[in-house]
Symmetry: C3
Subunit: 200 residues, 3 copies
């Protein structure tokens, strides 16, 4: 079940990568790479920083297949994706929750401090988009207005708060991802943004 959500999230992230790339006049190879880094860039950065190599997508081809599937789907149906925007947004949000949990888990596995684990969860969920934006020559959107990252951090704090009470892992996962998904849905519905910080 968890792996299934991971796979759905990966494909959703890849499709959102294609959609970003289509605004940039790239060739198919460029679009594919953007889709690829959007989907697995965060996890790859995490793996490199904690020394879990060869990085994840090199050891489980499912990711490559799902990204390729997302890539071709998005290219073929790119005229009709607007109509699917709602489903896409839902899958993307599921990805956000699942990827955060995966990042948290990888940190816990190797005994890192909760603060670092939360950083790893946020990185896994959000930094694929950061690398995508850098490759597209833009200041990363999550540094400017998207509250993506803040939601992941809140999710991570909830996770460790609950873990403190020795809840069972399934409950932990369910509650944390529900929190992340719910806040994300509300953030978009009610247009929650962080204010920008300037020189005053």
């Amino acid at each position: 079940m968890f792996h299934l959500l991971d796979v759905i999230g990966t494909m959703a992230f890849a499709i959102s990568g294609v959609l970003t790339a289509l605004n940039k006049k790239l060739d198919p190879f460029g679009v594919f790479i953007i889709a690829f880094v959007t989907a697995v860039g965060g996890g790859t950065l995490r793996d490199v920083l904690i020394g879990r190599t060869p990085v994840g997508w090199m050891q489980d081809l499912t990711y490559v297949y799902m990204i390729s599937l997302g890539f071709f789907t998005a290219l073929i149906f790119r005229k009709k994706l607007d109509r699917l925007r709602k489903s896409l947004f839902l899958f993307d949000t599921i990805g956000l929750g699942v990827f955060t949990l995966i990042g948290l888990e990888k940190g816990i596995e190797i005994g890192l401090h909760p603060i670092i684990c939360i950083a790893l969860g946020t990185m896994t969920a959000c930094f694929g988009g950061v690398i995508r934006d850098i490759l597209c020559n833009e200041i990363p959107i999550i540094f400017r207005r998207e509250i993506y990252a803040t939601i992941c951090i809140i999710g991570g704090i909830v996770f460790f708060a609950l873990k403190y009470f020795n809840l069972n892992n399934d409950v932990l996962y369910l509650v944390t991802s529900s929190v992340i998904i719910t806040i994300r849905l509300m953030a978009v519905k009610f247009k929650w943004y962080l204010p920008t910080v300037g020189k005053v």
Copy 2:
């Protein structure tokens, strides 16, 4: 022989890095770093992702020396490099073939799947240029029109197709690099580009 070609390719890539940097009003340190990442950035990224650390150029100073040589050569003869453009292009193309093979080999050595090995070959040959373009604040050229990467992928497929027939390694190397070099020369001669993909 193979190592010699690697060394020639490294120097050619470094020179092409200097030529790009000269358009960017950088100081000598900036130009050197651009030359450096153009030459070994792809292999460095590959090494980091597969966990082969300290990365290659830290363990064999030949790379540092060849890049320095390329750097000074390019700076001193920068007025005359236009005349040498053809030889440079040839060396650059040799680099493309050799670097792809090196990347393929590193993946095979640690038992990765052929698809991942092809990705590593392409990364080794092409992503130095990607990092160069990011440092120069441009969308990577191979994402926009250069078919560099596609050629490396074709080379990788040929490599594994031939390997399937248990050909001897020397033949494998010779054929694969010849395929890459030939397609690259033809691509430039006949102006082959991938079309860009837009929103329709």
Copy 3:
């Protein structure tokens, strides 16, 4: 003493990161990430390239705390930081010296060649700023006019020249960091820049 200087340098780098970010209309999360990579980005890149993982800041929370302290201090006092510019500049310069030494040491610890160690020292001290500039969508300032990197390289050469005479480590550290700090102060006072290199 050495660790104290490291901590001061980290905080100074984080504050300088915030100051850069304030010009970019980022949200608080974006500003924090810029502060973070400015402070520990160079050391993180070094750790990844030499395979020292999980990278430094994941194993010693002091860095996270100091960066957070720098972040909040800079945000709260951002109207008054102009008056503190001199002290900030001094701490920043101390950071430059200390970070170079740390990078040199990490390279020596794992038996790398002096040339590579000097590269690691320079990377530790200067590449946090490079990553900061890339995230802010600018060509890195040290590639254009700041002689930051050149000073670190000179410091590294002095270090190994003295080491050759078997000086004791404390003397080595003191002299090297003094050289770096002195040149940096003079460079700013006398406006020393490297010339840009163009196409002639």
